[in-house]
């Protein structure tokens, strides 16, 4: 039996279910949502309430807390007391001197248990000292034996501070950009083929792919804006990656305007094919090169890792790659409908 020609359309159903269900239902690893005390003084007791996320403080048997300055100076907790699964009270005895030449230091709080694994809130506690003795500070702060439990078992997405659950936007915002590139490459290919073969159908293909790609680009900008609001605090910031992708998108919108403004079919096809190649060549440095040369908040630019490190771990990849395939298929499907409708309309005009 021959498999049906539309098998790739049926693929949308399992892929879509998998991306939506796994993408939304897989829990995050335990993490620290926040603390209520940010200021400590040397020589005193520092008492802090920790609010956890997806954590199991009350059922952990070997719960330990650490304060860490830089990456090597650590003190251990004096006492820990869990009042519920997500509420913990920790007290530290802060030593008399800090391991620094300055009058203050920023310490990270680290929790570790055999149930939850390690979780960190970096550089959040501000400790001040009046007298400075770095040598003594170094000795006082390296007294704790600092060993972390192995990472928790089970299929869980990483807990990232600030991002929290929005790490799931990777499957929608990032994947829709990847699908956009897929469609733009198809559009570019058809434009080049048009300039070689001068077949009008190739022009219809190129414009249809570009239309869906621009729609995906607009969705990408809008979803990224929402994500920015809940990760960085504003819908739009003067960031090089954001501005350059907006410019790249405007260049492609100009492609649609160019097409709409030319009446003659042949010159429209020729000009827009040439412009499409220009737009693609302009987009590559705008989105991929320039943002990498300067500082940017956006992951993947200016020293920020994106497709590596902890931002995209192997668990996220298991949903992220299917998501790219899903949105690419949906984009391809929408463009193929677009192409078929345009071809029918052309045939009707030719008949008259």
């Amino acid at each position: 039996m021959k498999s049906p020609k539309f098998w790739w359309k049926l693929l949308c159903i399992p892929l879509g279910l998998y991306v939506l269900l796994a993408g939304l239902l897989v829990p995050l690893k335990p993490g620290i949502l926040g603390i209520d005390n940010y200021n400590a003084e040397v020589g005193g007791e520092f008492n802090v309430n920790v609010i956890g996320y997806n954590s199991n403080y009350d059922s952990a048997k070997k719960l330990r807390a650490y304060l860490r300055i830089d990456s090597s100076y650590v003190i251990s907790h004096k006492g820990v007391k869990a009042s519920s699964a997500n509420d913990l009270n920790v007290s530290f005895q802060i030593p008399q001197y800090l391991p620094t030449q300055d009058s203050f230091a920023s310490a990270s709080i680290i929790l570790d248990s055999e149930v939850d694994g390690p979780s960190v809130l970096p550089g959040i506690i501000h400790i001040v000292q009046n007298e400075i003795d770095q040598q003594l500070g170094n000795d006082l702060w390296s007294s704790a034996k600092f060993t972390l439990e192995p990472v928790v078992k089970g299929f869980k997405f990483p807990y990232r501070n600030i991002l929290h659950e929005t790490v799931r936007n990777t499957f929608f915002h990032v994947a829709i950009w990847f699908a956009m590139f897929f469609l733009l490459i198809l559009s570019l290919f058809n434009s080049i083929q048009y300039l070689r073969l001068r077949s009008y159908e190739l022009d219809i293909n190129a414009s249809s792919y570009a239309e869906v790609a621009i729609l995906f680009g607009l969705i990408g900008i809008a979803t990224g804006s929402i994500w920015a609001k809940y990760a960085w605090g504003a819908f739009w910031i003067a960031d090089v990656k954001l501005n350059m992708s907006a410019v790249a998108l405007l260049i492609y919108v100009a492609y649609l305007i160019l097409r709409a403004s030319i009446q003659d079919i042949d010159s429209r096809a020729r000009l827009s094919a040439a412009y499409n190649i220009f737009a693609f060549v302009a987009m590559i440095p705008l989105i991929f090169v320039i943002p990498r040369m300067t500082d940017s908040l956006h992951p993947g630019n200016g020293g920020n890792p994106a497709l590596g490190g902890e931002d995209l771990d192997n668990r996220l990849r298991m949903v992220f790659y299917p998501a790219i395939i899903l949105w690419s298929i949906i984009g391809f499907w929408l463009s193929s409908l677009n192409i078929r409708i345009k071809n029918i309309a052309e045939k009707l005009i030719a008949k008259k």
């Binding site: 939506l20 939304l24 995050l28 949502l33 996320y53 991002l163 929290h164 659950e165 929005t166 799931r168 936007n169 929608f172 915002h173 829709i176 869906v212 729609l215 995906f216 607009l218 969705i219 809008a222 979803t223 929402i226 994500w227 609001k229 809940y230 949906i330 929408l334 409908l337 677009n338 409708i341 345009k342 029918i344 309309a345 009707l348």
Partner: protein
């Protein structure tokens, strides 16, 4: 905000009944869709200013999915319009 959008909706409905066509225009459908979507959001936002930030910001993920869905629906609307034009041409022949 709720009251404003309600009066906007009522005005839309009024325009609809006075216009010649008995069908809603696409922009009317889209604005009503937006209204239906964001009126509950705005009322949640009134009761709890940090609704989209609650429970680990999961509702901002929902907002992202809603935008994605609306974008694709918008494109299907456009395709639908093109098919309707072709159908009209065929029946006119």
């Amino acid at each position: 905000m709720m009251r404003n959008s309600l009066s906007f909706y009522l005005r839309l409905m009024k325009n609809r009944s006075t216009s010649q066509s008995s069908y809603m225009k696409p922009y009317q459908i889209i604005s009503i869709l937006f209204l239906l979507l964001f009126s509950p959001l705005s009322s949640w936002a009134q009761s709890d200013p940090d609704f989209l930030r609650s429970t680990g910001k999961i509702y901002s993920v929902i907002a992202v999915i809603v935008i994605l869905f609306l974008g694709i629906i918008f494109f299907i609307f456009r395709l639908d319009k093109k098919v309707t034009e072709i159908e009209k041409q065929i029946t006119n022949e």
